[in-house]
């Protein structure tokens, strides 16, 4: 059941009417082990969302192929095959509003599970479960998704994907628009499932705090290529390379670098969270 994800020289573009766009993914190859929590980072337009769409069968490779466990997607994959892929890989879109469509939140959340063959008798309990998991009150199930605030809509869209109980979760900037508490709760929940149930997670984010605190591995996208795929710590060690990829460091690391320049004191190690920074400051006797 543990499912590996593999991309093999995937090149992709978008069909715009009769013409094709420039390539948005170029020869992307990578292998994601089951049960890993991988962050996908990189500047605007680098191909992060397109990468997730390939894994979920929404964007087909022009050349190369994607393997989702024992299913192989290429340019000629059938609709039936892609449906099977979408059951395995749940995708939360970058703009969740475009994912909502039903009259009530409950109908919206139930649609996916029913479509994939869940029994109608079970979906109500499922909807109640996932709405609580994203930190919303059950009463919201009976409201129109269009009468919700931005953050509430995003939570509902996430709940809709959780309800599919996929083996792989692909989330495109899932914490954008969530309040600080909501963000922490969502990320902890994801991490918990990732650890306990071996759920494979792929999360696009611009938030280096979340990367530092929750990701095992990081993929860096740049101009349609995957230019880095390694552990989170390795990524943040090399400040020069981060600069080249136009990536930021987490707050604690930025603070550390500033402190080291201004104090002339070097801290014993690279600090990525406030806890690590506080401990290092204690160690060198500054506080």
């Amino acid at each position: 059941m543990a499912m590996r994800l593999r991309l093999d020289h995937v090149t992709a573009d978008y069909q715009i009417g009769p013409v094709r766009s420039p390539r948005v993914l170029r020869e992307v190859s990578m292998s994601l082990q089951p049960g890993t929590f991988t962050a996908v980072v990189g500047p605007t337009g680098a191909g992060k969302s397109s990468l997730l769409k390939v894994l979920n069968g929404l964007l087909l490779p022009q050349s190369g192929q994607a393997e989702i466990g024992d299913i192989t997607i290429d340019g000629k994959s059938s609709k039936r095959l892609l449906k099977a892929v979408r059951k395995r890989v749940g995708l939360v879109f970058q703009f969740p509003e475009s994912q909502l469509f039903a009259e009530t939140v409950e109908q919206d959340i139930s649609f996916g599970p029913l479509n994939f063959g869940a029994h109608p008798r079970n979906v109500h309990a499922l909807a109640e479960k996932v709405i609580a998991q994203v930190g919303l009150d059950e009463s919201i199930l009976y409201r129109s998704p269009f009468s919700l605030s931005g953050g509430q809509k995003r939570r509902v869209a996430i709940a809709g994907v959780l309800a599919l109980e996929p083996e792989v979760l692909a989330l495109d900037e899932p914490t954008a628009g969530l309040d600080p508490t909501g963000k922490e709760e969502l990320l902890s929940l994801l991490k918990q499932w990732n650890k306990q149930n071996g759920l494979t997670i792929l999360m696009v984010t611009h938030d280096m705090e979340s990367v530092a605190r929750y990701a095992d591995d990081v993929v860096v996208m740049e101009k349609g290529r995957a230019v880095f795929h390694d552990s989170m710590r390795k990524l943040f060690e090399d400040t020069e390379r981060l600069e080249k990829w136009q990536l930021d460091v987490p707050d604690a690391r930025r603070f550390q670098l500033e402190f080291e320049v201004r104090s002339g004191t070097r801290l014993p190690r690279v600090c990525l969270t406030e806890d690590e920074l506080a401990d290092a400051l204690i160690e060198v006797g500054r506080v």
């Binding site: 978008y14 715009i16 766009s21 990189g42 500047p43 605007t44 337009g45 992060k48 969302s49 970058q94 703009f95 509003e97 475009s98 009468s147 919700l148 605030s149 931005g150 953050g151 509430q152 939570r155 495109d172 900037e173 954008a176 628009g177 969530l178 309040d179 600080p180 508490t181 909501g182 963000k183 611009h206 280096m208 136009q246 990536l247 930021d248 707050d251 604690a252 603070f255 500033e258 402190f259 201004r262 104090s263 406030e274 806890d275 920074l277 506080a278 400051l281 204690i282 500054r286 506080v287």
Partner: protein, 270 residues
Amino acid sequence: MKDLMIDVENVTFRYDRREQTDALSSVSFKAEKGKWLSVIGNNGAGKSTLAALLIGLIQPSQGTIRINGVALDEESKWTIRRSAGIVFQNPDNQFIGATVQDDVAFGLENLNVPADQMRLRVTEALETVGMLNYRTADPTQLSGGQKQRVAIAGVLALRPDLLILDEAFVMLDPRSRRELLATLKRLKTERDLTILSITHDMNEAAASDRILVLKQGHVARSDTPAHIFSEETELAAPFSERLRRLLLKKGRRAPESYRTESEMVQWLCD
């Protein structure tokens, strides 16, 4: 005291009369001209509702809103919108033009800006957000961050006196976000631009002049970042304050009140 750009008095709003609670209730606050006001608060607190009220998209059931000294009503809202621009929370499905440049120009057409002026402003705005290369692209076929930039360019081209940003930076990469914030700070000084920015980013809020905290439709607090982050300890805080609180928790030496990041580094160096 400087002139007021925003003066909200006792504003109450409810989306649906059948509902039990107001989306906003008895909200009052002021924003001086040329200042940066951050609005923070949990999901559903009423921030976007407030933004919609400020440009007259919806009308309060009670209370008054004055923008730049003019009371907002059905008649004055058209004039007010000529000098107040808004970037909505979700840029998707809001594009009107078939190309990026048409979309940015759209708002200017309504302002009767002469054609050559218009081209100039569109170019300038797209350059500011780094989207000039995409001017002939279809705005619906852009990446998330690119869409958000186009939406921001659309209001910058209007050269408003009041800029309302509803989480307008969430899809931008950190570097572009910082560059754009710096540009807006510059415009604020150069053109006496007033900015009301709704955000969940506490580092951004900490860098503003004042913060308005909304809580379940009420104003929980309106004050400077220093006061708010020192005193409202249940609120999420910017990094320097998180570190300060952590040091205190660990029973270590720490400053007695909120410090900005730069001040905190200095304190550690002393």
